[in-house]
Amino acid sequence: MTSPDYRVSHLDALESESVFIFREVVATCARPVLLFSGGKDSIVMLHLAAKAFAPAPIPFPVLHVDTGHNFPEVLDFRDAYVSRLGVELLVASVEEGINSGLVTEPPDGVRNRIQTPVLLDAVEKYRFDALFGGARRDEEKARAKERVFSFRDEFGQWDPKNQRPELWSLYNGRTHPGESIRVFPLSNWTELDIWNYIAAQRVELPSIYFAHSREVVERDGMLYGVNEFIRLRDDETSETRTVRYRTVGDASCTAAVPSEAATIAEVIAEVAATRVTERGATRGDDRVSEAAMEDRKREGYF
């Protein structure tokens, strides 16, 4: 990090800012938790958290809101990664939420939106007052206006018109009982920054981020992996293609992209040249409307 004229590279500056944010939350909030999906952003978040408190262990648990629609490679990775870091893993199960009547399975089987009540239920149960999320402002236009410390009322709701001003590096994480703060340590990172950091720090990722052979079906212009959650309809045929995942989410609504990028360096080259945003390329859930993400966020989504 040091150099004669005290220059700091942009990745070091981003890392430093994220580390500062992690420490600030742990120093000022009573019960933080990190939302972990097994995707690259939450993996980088956990990597940064480990760096922020070294040589001490990460001083908060990790929460996975499990839709039950998982990529097996990602679940295996999750378990190995949290056990290596010695961090406590909590799972909030959407499946259990359906069984207990907390939420109802939507007719289309896509469980994205019903994750929110399951998440809020876990927040209430464990009395979390600060939740780290891996959202980045470059991902989506509603996220571009979100604070690093984003206040949620006792219903978990985000009010975009009533956000706390955020100046210098003075973050206001104060809450009353029942309220909480969503904290986004990766706010200022772009997809390319994440990949460059993964390369520089040799961060491990689940294998589905790299090119592999998979049986896929083309649906609404996107390539979905055929699995127990995505079954062929009568008029559809599948084919085996070389693909990779740009994002990892619910296996029933996350699409793959055709790609030959098998190494981090090849992924970086691909990301640098791409002309479509990662959510646009891979998320069926954001295609619902112009303000799909904003609406989900208002309800308390990640």
Binding site: K51, R137, W168
Partner: protein, 421 residues
């Protein structure tokens, strides 16, 4: 992009029609930071609304209410990169909540970009923008005289606006001013020099953004390390480990340096400076590190490490400029609030409101008895615990603070230290 790519944060300000969104859209588009699906979405919405041309403002106006009402509500953050630098734009709206948003965007900016319409010249808002940039000590200011295509690329028009702005800027404290004639719509002088303004001898906007020297904007003289968190692993292998985690606010720290811990005043030396990647020989802003001291002292969050012969003020009485940011309750003399400064929190009472400043005329209204939303005034504060602070003009990190309403927890004001005693 390489390991040596620098980060530059800049704030943009402008009114509705001066072409700011078009300029940002062009910077994103021409640096290939705008994606096809984002472009398609903007085109679709523009067409559906019956716009005559694709409205690039839709790129930055992400919220439903903004799209429906055609206004910008909040600061939007945008990102683009060139091989030399990564840029973070804090795009602040020109009208609603103007001062609050501009102050927020400017607080972390290395550079501020102000736009004026060449046909209209300076307007009240341009002067207000410039004043707020100088108040918040943004090190570099760029005035873009936009829509040069609509004044036939006239040097005379540009020179007149440039002279008027320069005259105004000399009354303010603006360390570095650059004025560039552009057409955001046509792309003149945005990414590359325009042949249509051969009389202009400066660089294009992007070239300036890529090359403006920002490394020396940081204060590398006054060592200020606010302790953020104490790391104590409580494990057998690290039984006696005690590290003080924080981000270097200013100055350069090295192992072996004699240091003082405030407010206690004890002196000791730096044993080591550590990161998760190993020890470092030096730490400087904005590095987040863990400092270990030679002596066992009682040091906790909110304390500050400095050099014995170069210390901040340790003050409970602070003269400050405050920008009020709350629409519900005004700032009033005698009221008590929470104050957050570096990693330190305290309570504070407004002892005096000396005057309210008119940000358009710079007139001081000494009869004012409150500050309402978006108003700026000079106050005297008394705090329950001493603040370890510097004048903001010398140190942005140890001179800025926020005011929090203790009942609602809302951030209601931002302040900068003018003088501490």
């Amino acid at each position: 992009m390489s390991d040596t790519t620098e980060l530059l944060r800049f704030a943009t300000a402008g009114s509705v029609d001066d072409g700011k969104s078009t300029l940002i859209g062009r910077l994103l588009y021409d640096t290939k930071s705008l994606f096809d699906d984002q472009w398609d979405a903007v085109e679709t919405v523009s067409r559906a609304r019956g716009d005559e041309y694709t409205d690039l403002a839709l790129l930055t106006d992400g919220l439903r209410a903004e799209r429906e009402q055609g206004i910008t509500i909040d600061v939007a953050y945008r990102y683009f990169a060139t091989p030399r630098r990564k840029f973070i734009i804090a795009d602040t709206p020109g009208h609603i909540q103007y001062t609050r948003n501009m102050v927020t965007g400017a607080s972390t900016a290395d550079l501020a970009l102000i736009l004026v319409d060449a046909r209209k010249g300076l307007v009240e808002q341009s002067r207000r923008h410039a004043f707020l940039c100088s108040l918040l000590r943004v090190p570099h200011l760029v005035l873009c005289v936009n829509k040069m295509d609509l004044v036939d690329y006239s040097q005379e028009v540009f020179d007149r606006i440039a002279a008027e702005f320069t005259a105004f800027a000399t009354k303010l404290d603006i360390p570095d001013l650059t004025i560039i004639p552009i057409s955001a719509l046509e792309g003149d002088n945005v990414v590359s020099r325009s042949p249509r303004m051969a009389w202009y001898e400066g660089t294009s906007l992007l070239h300036h953004l890529e090359n403006v020297h920002i490394a020396s904007d940081r204060n590398l003289v006054d060592v200020r390390f606010p302790v953020q968190y104490v790391i104590r692993p409580h494990s057998n292998s690290n039984h006696d480990y005690r590290g003080y985690a924080g981000q270097v606010a200013s100055g350069v720290m090295k192992p072996g340096d004699e240091v003082m811990v405030l407010p206690s005043g004890f002196t000791t030396t730096i044993a080591s400076i550590e990161t998760a990647d190993g020890p470092v020989a030096e730490a400087f802003p904005p590095m987040s590190v863990t400092v270990r001291l030679t002596d066992e002292l009682d040091v906790s969050r909110g304390d500050l490490i400095c050099r014995p012969n170069n210390r901040p003020e340790v003050a409970q009485d602070v003269e400050a400029m405050i920008c009020w940011m709350d629409e519900k309750q005004p700032l009033q003399r005698g009221r008590k609030y929470a104050i957050a400064h570096t990693t330190r929190s305290a309570r504070t009472m407004v002892k005096e409101l000396h005057y309210r400043l008119d940000v358009n005329t710079l007139h001081r209204d000494e009869g004012a008895d409150s500050l309402t939303l978006n108003e700026i005034g000079r106050v005297r504060l008394r705090t329950t615990l001493p603040l370890l602070c510097d004048e903001y003009r010398r140190n942005r990190a140890t001179g800025g603070f926020i005011i929090i309403d203790e009942a609602t927890n809302r951030t209601v004001g931002a302040g900068i230290v003018v003088e501490a005693a």
